[in-house]
Amino acid sequence: MNQKTFIGVVNPVKDKMYRLALRLLISKDSAEDATQEVLLKLWSRKDKIKDYANIEAFAMTVTKNYCLDQLKSKQNNNLKIVHTNYESQDRSAFDQLETNDRLKQISLILETLPEQQKLIFQLRDIEEYEYEEISKVMDMNETAIRVSLSRARKKIRIELLKKDSYGIT
């Protein structure tokens, strides 16, 4: 596989990898670095790539593992990025009803979810993967994925409702 075909194969997945990394790592720079690193990893293993039936699922799995590793090492270094300072933002009166702010709220709620739920929500609701593909990436069975996804969806909605009622009172 030469460079051109590799880029051709990887290009459609690149954005998805970036979004997944962004969901987990939050910082745009780290997400970009992560994507770059994973692509290099894939490139160095390009000869084996043919053996993997579904390159996209494989690329996503590698990205997921890489980001989780990154988070782990950050925790070990006491450099964990904590975005808990968002509470004060939504006190402001009517602006928060703007859609943009609401969308931001969701990403903030998503940040509070456990990694597994973040990943599954990202893969299903944003990238629109089939459960079968998700189970490959996550290395989980479909039932467990559905349960986790359901928890994530409900949590997001409940948190959103909570924020709304705080806004009104």
Binding site: K14, Y18, I145, R146
Partner: protein, 149 residues
Amino acid sequence: MELHKLESLVKRYDDGGTTLEEEKLLKKYFHSEKVPEHLKEYEVIFSFSEEEKNICHPGKFKLKSDKKWYAIIGVAASILIAFGIFTFQENQQQNFPQNELGTIETPEEAYFKAKETLQMVAQIMNNSKEELVYLDEFNKTKNQIIKIK
């Protein structure tokens, strides 16, 4: 879409029971139609999913990392420099004894050479000492001001 159908679909969505097609249908519905008040938050959730899908990886990625090359070049350069310094120093050490020393062979010759050199040094010293006479002038003036004797 009728309300009861929508509600059951949303319920199944919450439980993780919808298929991709149904979810696409929901996204389309919440994107385009007037949403009942009690389902407002789904509108936000679905538009969030749609928005997030548009995020793209910025710029191009590089397949060959430059960092590796920088490292290799750096190591090569430092080896060259270290090597250069060593050979330079070694050359200097070798040049010195060869050209400047070891030309005198007999002890007598060495003795005379040394004597000659010392004589020359002594002569230069004496010459310079004569120049010091001028210092007396300073002393005279000094003695006029400060009378020690």
